[in-house]
Every structure is written in structure tokens, then in C-alpha cells.
Symmetry: C2
Amino acid sequence: MNGAQALVAAAIDHGIEVCFANPGTTEMPLVLALDSVPGMRGILCLHENVATGAADGYGRMTGQPAMCLLHLGPGLANGLTNLHNARRAFTPVLNVIGEHASWHLPADPLLASPIEEVARMVGAHVHTSAGPETVASDLADAVDATHRNGGAVATLIVPHDAQIAEASQGSAARRAAADRSFIPRHVTNAAQVLRDGNAAILLGGEGLSEAGLMLAGRIAAATGADLLCDTFFARMERGGGLPQPAKLPYFPDQALELTRRYDKVVIAGTRRPVAFFGYPGLPSHLTTQAQTVPLTGPGEDTLAALDALAGELRAPMDFDPVAGPLPDMPAGALDAQSVSAVIARLQPANAIIMDEALTVGTPYFDASRNAPRFSHLMLTGGAIGEGPGAATGAAIACPGRKVINFQSDGCGAYSVQAFWTQARERLDVVTIIGSNRSYNILNVELARAGVTEPGPITRSMAGLDRPFLDWVKIGEGFGVPSVAVDTAEGLAQALQVALAERGPRLIEAIMT
Amino acid sequence: MNGAQALVAAAIDHGIEVCFANPGTTEMPLVLALDSVPGMRGILCLHENVATGAADGYGRMTGQPAMCLLHLGPGLANGLTNLHNARRAFTPVLNVIGEHASWHLPADPLLASPIEEVARMVGAHVHTSAGPETVASDLADAVDATHRNGGAVATLIVPHDAQIAEASQGSAARRAAADRSFIPRHVTNAAQVLRDGNAAILLGGEGLSEAGLMLAGRIAAATGADLLCDTFFARMERGGGLPQPAKLPYFPDQALELTRRYDKVVIAGTRRPVAFFGYPGLPSHLTTQAQTVPLTGPGEDTLAALDALAGELRAPMDFDPVAGPLPDMPAGALDAQSVSAVIARLQPANAIIMDEALTVGTPYFDASRNAPRFSHLMLTGGAIGEGPGAATGAAIACPGRKVINFQSDGCGAYSVQAFWTQARERLDVVTIIGSNRSYNILNVELARAGVTEPGPITRSMAGLDRPFLDWVKIGEGFGVPSVAVDTAEGLAQALQVALAERGPRLIEAIMT
């Protein structure tokens, strides 16, 4: 057994089942080990940011890390932005990176670069194996690290000579899961605040799981508190009668308008909310210090804290499920409202919605509140181009569930290579491209900044026209059957067809 | 004048003419400044690695930095690998990155990341502006840094509040160009070695410019020395009778077979050659220490040193130009040899060839030795996905020259977004995709490692089949007229048609 085989064996022992990869020469022993040590699925991606985005989607759906097998520093660099999104989502992700042979590195070969320094952008656990004997335990340490602080990105770098030298197998014993707890005093404080009335609970992380929402719903029923959630959440269970937190608006003035209604905001499973960008004259934080009542952060045991809080408040076991109509089926030309309504009406029970729709899908959150139960994933770190990769990983994680990737065109253009992996693995992903042919958020920002007549370069920088992207050709070029529609009726029909079949489909929803 | 306008004005004053961009909210003042301070062309790219690849191609053709306008840490991260290639090519490139407002950053907004640390992967000069008053001089310092050490990547980070606050304009005075020199003793040594006979000169950097090659040709004529060049050069002027260095083979055993013929190897404009990867039993360096005779490194004045060396050797002013036939026009099915031959036969005088063909184009270097004069650019840092972006930048740099991007399919799939910018800017780029439907270098490496029957995961990781990429649809999806051919005759005809027109074209050369 060589070092590469010891690594793969240890990874399998520690529960890693999937490897998203774009390997090179310095990872070939690891690739060979995926064959010689059976137990892990290897999935090729045409770009590392698809691999890391897939690991993020996979980790959000399973709670377990997938392995990203990346080629040296450049392979890591290509995958960094979706690792950044994974970091902000508290998703467990394990990077394994080949490094030049340790005796070759001092000669500074062309592909050499400071891998450790770059990896620290996305996670604190970064380690280079000293030799073949430590590879298996290094792997175990890295898997442990992915479960710390509520979920994290960990990076293990393995020199080529450590991969090919004789190694002993690591212990199969899994490490104890990291102890998670909460601060009892925070529960007492929160209970007092909620009893006093005019309070809200801002939920994130586990607070948005089914169990978390049911606990929060009981607490709300007992106290009259409103439920809120982060603007960009990693995953929320939604629909099917679950309590529905109100989402903090994107722009800080609008978010403050919401939070100022409350004397106190209890923070559960997330942090005190922060504006996405800083705008002159508006604060960074979306609650005042005096308003903010901590219950748990992302690394704490939010479910146990909410349970304790419900007990403290003697919250009823039952409460009325959220009920209401779905939006009407729209007709005619497509806009953000009508695309959102069509998806919300047609999404099947138990769907996974990977939502990187941004301005083309702002209404979707409200439109889908009465949809059948689904898992709603969002872009978490603001690094655009996550949707197609994350949808790929979610489909690998949950082969029995339909994945719908509601995707803006500007963000989607970053990650078109994901469609190839969806085709190759025959994944059950329907991509709906909301095609407004612009980086429209920039137009919104310009209008907010009072720029009424932007010059030609500014207009050009926000425009995805000249030429239009032809998403049908792009999808089919990467192997996914694709169709374009420009009416609500057309979208509904195309989506029904796509949902009735298995396998990847792409629908370009051309908006006016 | 605000800080953003002061920055753009200073950039124009310091000779920056082009900005490749994918901006976001934190760069909007800089985008607006591109309109309000006229003089710089703004070119939108759908992915930052296209922008940075374009800046690399532009800088190689002009010797001047283009500006890359990137959105925060994730924008930089997305563009890192082509910046890595630019670093290895000694290309001057200027990154300008917006940062969150300095008062907002302590709240750790979602897009926040350690920009400076990541930027150091690709260049030593990394600076964050302290405020609006220093933005213009910070820009001047960064431009200076791009010209140091033979060309470098420099990064200037400008917080949003420094962009929008009132600033004074910087001085229009350009800094003095960095002093470059050479070590006279190295010239004397080299002359002695070359007089002794059985020597070669390994050329890189300026040594591969027209002037450098003509000097090297005179020295070779005077001494009988052979001329060599790096396996992956940034730019070489070739064809049209210019001296033709032999290229160091990629694999170290083959490279050593070549270098061992010589008692001494004089190094001019590059460094002692290093194997691309380390192979057990083979050395890192491709010349021995005793063989290696330094003349100049990349940061030194190679042209002056070669001129001094030619003088020392009383080299003749004239020598016989390289002459010989072009390869025969091939017929029938396509392979690396025949695709290379067709391109070499048909490329027009004064073409720019961006060559990221790797295994699908290995024969091109020899096939093109007797082509009409052209500039030959290669992938320099091994971070694949450079060709389409670099071809885009070369076409912006040299609007009167035809650019041919000879591109492998595996590498090309990384950077398909570049085709959109080629279409948008109506650039005169013909992309020829050598479509062998695999990461074939991995198969070559496996065979070298003695793996005769790779397992299914290993085979899968090297295969771009299942499904085939449809390059015609991909090219057209991004707006470039595209065609597929599978014979030499078909390729010749399609290439003639593409070369006869202006504007971008894509040809998929399907190989058997």
C-alpha cells in the first residue's frame, strides 16, 4: 500500500464517499488509488470551480464532506471562489491537492506556487503531509477539521513522493465528533426577551433545518415573536406547512426598515447580520448592538439551544402550519415575477432548489412559501458562478430527488462546464436560466447611487447583450438537452416536460 | 475628481490603454471613471480568468501592462491561474481590485477575504491604498512594479471609500524605466566557453525576440554553437528565415538526451532549465551545474549582453537565413501531425499563434519553422485554460494581425467564455480546437509510469468522451461562427475561409 492508497483507504474509513476531481500528473497516484482501493466514486469536472461547487452542494445536502481532488496550486486557485462560498455556508469540504515531489520543489518548477497560503483564504486547516507514514492520519485530521465550527473547508497537500512511497494504513477508527454546545445563560436571556414581546428570532444554519424551524415555530407560537432568516442562507427547509421566516432584504436600508420594528432580535445559528456592501450613511450591521441578543452562532448546538428555549418558554407542541395559496399561473411575457411563479407552482414535492437567480428571481422566495416541501439552497458568499456546480453536487448527494437550478444568466455563464458533468453522470437536474441579458444588479446599484445616465463604458460593463448568449447551444454543447422559451405558458410546458423525465435538462427563460 | 477618477487619470498618464474587466458593486466608481476620464478602453469579460489571460496576451505583444479590473477577493481568485501564467511569462500586468469600504470591512461582509495574501501568489507588489490622496501615486508605483524583474504582476487594492472621496490628481510624470544591465564577466565567460566549442545557448525572454535571435544567430555562426529554447516560452519570433532554436523536450529524459550533447550550455534571458514535473530517478535540472554558464536571467538586459557577446566574438553581421520547405499538405483523417501541418502551411505572414495545443499540437513547433514570420506564444505556467483569453488580448493589442489560437479541447473547455468577448469586440481570432476528446497528457504519463491497464476511474479521469463536447454549439453559444471538420482537406478549406474574413471564427478539428 502506497501513500496514495493509504489516503484513499483512510478517506473511505472516515466516511468520504465521493471525489469531485480534475487531477493532473501530480495526482495520478491518487487517481490510481481510487481504482485499487474501491469505495469512493470519482467524478470528473471540466473546471475546478465545478468540483468545489459540487462539493459545497453535496455537503449542504448530506452534512458530510466530499473530497475535491485538485491539481497543485492552480487547481486550487481555479476552485477558490466556490470554496469561499462553502466557507460562508459552513459546509464541510475536504480538499486533497497533489504537490510536486518534495525533492523537485526547490527547483521551482513552472507550476509551483504557495499552495498553503492560498488555501488559507478558505479555511484555517491547511496541512502538507511530511511523508507517506503520516498521510492516513493527516487525512483523518483534515476530515475532523471539516466538521469544526459548524462546518469548514480543510485542505491536505500531499507531495508526489509521499503518494508513491510505501505507507502503512491508518487506523479505521473514526474520531469522535466535535463536541458542540450552547451557553445556557443565552437561553435564559432569550426567553426573557421573548417574553417581553416585540422581538424577532433571526435563524441561520441548523435553525433553518426542519427540526430547527419546528422548534422556532413553537417558540413563535408561545411568544408572538416573528421569525427572520439571513438574506443568503446555505439551506432552508421550506414549504409543506413549515414555519416561514421572513428573509432580510438585500439592501441595508430595507433590511433596517424590517429590523427596526423589533425591540430585540435573537440570533440563532448565525451571526449578527451584516450588510452585503457598505453604503455611505448606512451602518454595517443590520441590528443595533442593543437590539442584538445572542442565542447561538454557527459553531454552537442551535437545535439543543432552541429546544431548551422552547422548554423554558413552555412552548406548545403544536402550532398552525403555514398555509396559503400558490401564486396564480402567470401568462404572457416573462419577468422575474412570472418565472418565479411558474417554478413555485410546478416544483414537485421533495425538490432541491439551488437558487442563484439574484435579480431574475428575487420574487421566488415569497412565491414558493406554499410550495410542497423542498430544500432551498442559495449563493452564500457572493462569489457568483456557484449554482450549476452546487446543483451537480446536490444531485449526486440525493439521487432520488429532483434538483432545480434557478440560475441567473450572468452567474451561470461562469460555470457552464458543470452541464457536462450533469450529462456525463446523467444527473436529475433541471437548469432554468433566467435570461435578462445583463448584470442587472449593477444597474440597480447605479440607480441607487443616483447615476441616471451612465456612459457607454458603464452601460457596456452591465450588459450581456452584444451578442446574446445562446443558452440552448451552450447547454447542448456540453451535452444537456436544452430549449428556450419566452412566455410563461412556454416555460410551464417546458418545465413540465423536463420534470417528467429523468436526467439533465436546460431551459432558457428569456425575459423582457 | 474622486479617487477612482484620479486612479484612471494616473493609469492613462502612465500609458495604460486597455482595461479587461468584470467589475462589481465595489468597483462601480472605477467603472464610472472610465467614462468620465476618457482614454482607456473597457472590455467586459464573462469570467475573470479571461480578463487576466487577455492581459497576459496583451502584455506579451505590447510590453505594456493592461489593467485587470477585478471584483474583491473572489474576482482575483477567479483570475489567479492566468496571472500565474503571466508571472511565469514575465508579462507586465496591473490588477486593480475594489475592496469593501474601509469602515465596512471590520464587520466581515460575506464577500470579504484576505485579498493581499492571495494576490501574493502571483506577484510581489501588492498594496492597499490608504486613502484617496494616495491612489494616484499608488497606481504609479504599481505600474512601475509591472516593469521590474523583466515583467511582473502588480496588484493595487482600492477601498470603495477611497474611490468615492475627493482626491487630487497625481503627477503626470512617468517614472524612469527600471535600469536593466548585465554582468560583463558573464559575457567574457560565455565567449570563452563558446570559443572552446561543443556548446549551446539556451534562449528565453528577449533572447527570443527578433533582435535577440539575430544576435544569437550571429554568435552561432561565429562559434558553431547550437541554439536552444525553453519548452514553454512566453513569445518567440519565428519563421521568415529567423534562426530557429531547438526546443527542449517536455520530458526530462528526452531533454537530458539533448543537453548532454554539449559540454556547456549558456543561459540567456531565462534560467537554468527545470523539469516540468519530478520523475523518480531523473534530476530536477536539465543541465548539470558544471554545464551551466549564466549570461543573463529574465530581469537582466539580454539584448545588450548578446550584443556585447557578439562583439567579443567578432561575430559576422550576416549569416544564412533558415530556409526549407513547409510540410506537405496532408490528406485524410486528422491527427496532431496533420492539424499542425495544415496550420503551418496556411498561416498568413505576420500571424500571432497562441499555442495551447499540448499533445494535440506537439508537432506544430517543427512544422512551422519555415512558415512566414509570426509571433509564437505558449502556455507558460502550466495552468491550463490560457489560450482563448490570451488570444483575445493579443488581438486587442495587434488589431492589424491575424491571431490563430491553436487550442487543445481539454484546456479550451476551461475558458470558453473568452469566445463571447471575441464576438463582442469583433476580434480577428481564429480558434482551432484540436479535439482528441481526452486529457491525453494523463494517458501519456500513465504509460510512462508503466500503467498499462488503468482501471475505470482512472480511464474516466482522462476521458473527455461521454459526452463529446460539441464545440460548434459552444462557439456559437458564445457568439462565434463555428464549424467542425474531421479531415485535413476539410480543415484546410475551413481555415482558408476563416482567414479570408475578419472577425472571430472557431474550427473544431476532430481527431481520430
